[in-house]
Amino acid sequence: MTGSAARRTPLYGRHVALGGRLVDFGGWELPQQYTSIREEHLAVRKVAALFDISHMGRFRVTGHDTFDFLQRLVTNDLARIAKGHAQYNLFCNEEGGVIDDLVVYWGEDAFFVVVNASNRERDLGWMREHAPSTVEIEDRTFELSLVAFQGPRAEELLPAIGLSDIPYFGFRDGEVAGIKTMISRTGYTGEDGFEVFVDSASVGDLWDSVLEAGRPAGVLPAGLGARDATRLEAALRLYGSDMDETVNPYEAGLGWTVKLDKGDFVGRDALAKVREDGPRRTLIGLRTEPGSIARHGAAVIARGRRAGVVTSGTHSFFLGYPIALAMVEVPSFRVGDKVAVEVRGREAPAEVVKLPFYRGSARSASAASKS
């Protein structure tokens, strides 16, 4: 971010009142935790928890060429979804490097694009640079708030009706606690759950109502710490940590989002070549011993030499041991292989494990993409 002060979401006052420990994330002042990352993390896995994700960039794209415009900018094939459905996607540059990961929503009279907070301005510029004059792109990040309600009991505990009719990666207009919203069955935790788009003027009331309704069942507000731990257990990539413009989708293990046969799109030629030659690096999962948390940037060592680097790592309170994602050279490792990682300046033993580290109640993203 630049030197300017961190932005605050419309829920800032709630975060302070709930005792949230505020940190800077992508230029936004957001709670790392309210009471305890451990408790908030376990609430996501066992009940449900509510996150403020209003920092994420939200664009409304309209004009009758919108489909063709977006289809040319993203790697996945929008023709595989229909109105009322969303799709996980990537923007790549001409060299095939990942500019951002995002979700495209095909709405009744507009497309919505939800991007990472830290890339909002970059993405907006990239889209405008490629947009024909017949397409209008509106940044709705500030007028529209976004909260995520995630957990195995999310459908039961969100105060809204008809949620069972919304399929995975589907969305529709609906009321939550009597407030007009757009409800989407998406998330970033590996659990079932919903992301709720609501006017910023109403998000405070919605936040209070959802927490109040869920409190007897154990619903908690959750911060960035629990969000990072749950997304990592689910092996969902974090832009800026697990990938950036120097990484292509095949290296990031996101080859399933690249549909080379859909027609031309930005980065297609470079990606077709990577696909043909095979990626030179790949993302793997590691498990280490309790106390040995391999942090972003730590070296992965195998057979006495540096074989890669840790991209994300944390202690999993749910699994009871530390986990990490690492970008390693190809030929890579097999599940069960023993390697070492650098922890506090020393080599600590690590085992290569299957991804995701934990499969929650959400249906798998790859299954949705094939539908």
């Binding site: 790392q32 305890s36 990352i37 451990r38 710490g225 106390g291 948390i293 202690h315 309170f317 506090r344």
Partner: protein
């Protein structure tokens, strides 16, 4: 109960005769966030004032632990192996870390509560 004293590196200590109990402060545990692991020395080891004796690892970061005094370790809180979260929930009680037998004098730069508060709030 003896008065608690503090260091600029956010340890606390209580002194009863030659017996000194050491932990990290409430401010330190709040800054660290949820503690998941402590790397601690064995009893019997001698430490000098300011020496690194272990590591406390939280979800966010690993931080070194410093001995506030010179002395010999007489006990290590074994409960922390299974329950590192005691550092968060009870930093001045069940979350104590080491007991030491003081060698020589207490260092002159230990802080009382008012002085430590200023350090923590700075």
């Amino acid at each position: 109960m003896a008065d608690r004293r503090y260091t600029k590196s956010h340890e606390w200590l209580t002194v009863e005769g030659k017996n000194v109990t050491v932990g990290i402060t409430d401010f330190a545990q709040a800054q660290l966030g949820d503690v998941v692991f402590l790397e601690l020395p064995a009893p019997g080891r001698k430490l000098s004032a300011g020496e690194t004796f272990g590591v406390v690892e939280s979800v966010k970061a690993a931080s070194d632990l410093y001995s506030p005094i010179g002395g010999r370790i007489t006990a290590v809180n074994e409960k922390l192996k299974e329950h590192p979260e005691l550092i968060n929930s009870d930093p001045y009680g069940d979350g104590w870390i080491l007991k030491l037998e003081l060698t020589g004098e207490l260092p002159g730069d230990l802080l009382d509560e008012a002085a430590y508060k200023k350090v923590a709030e700075a």
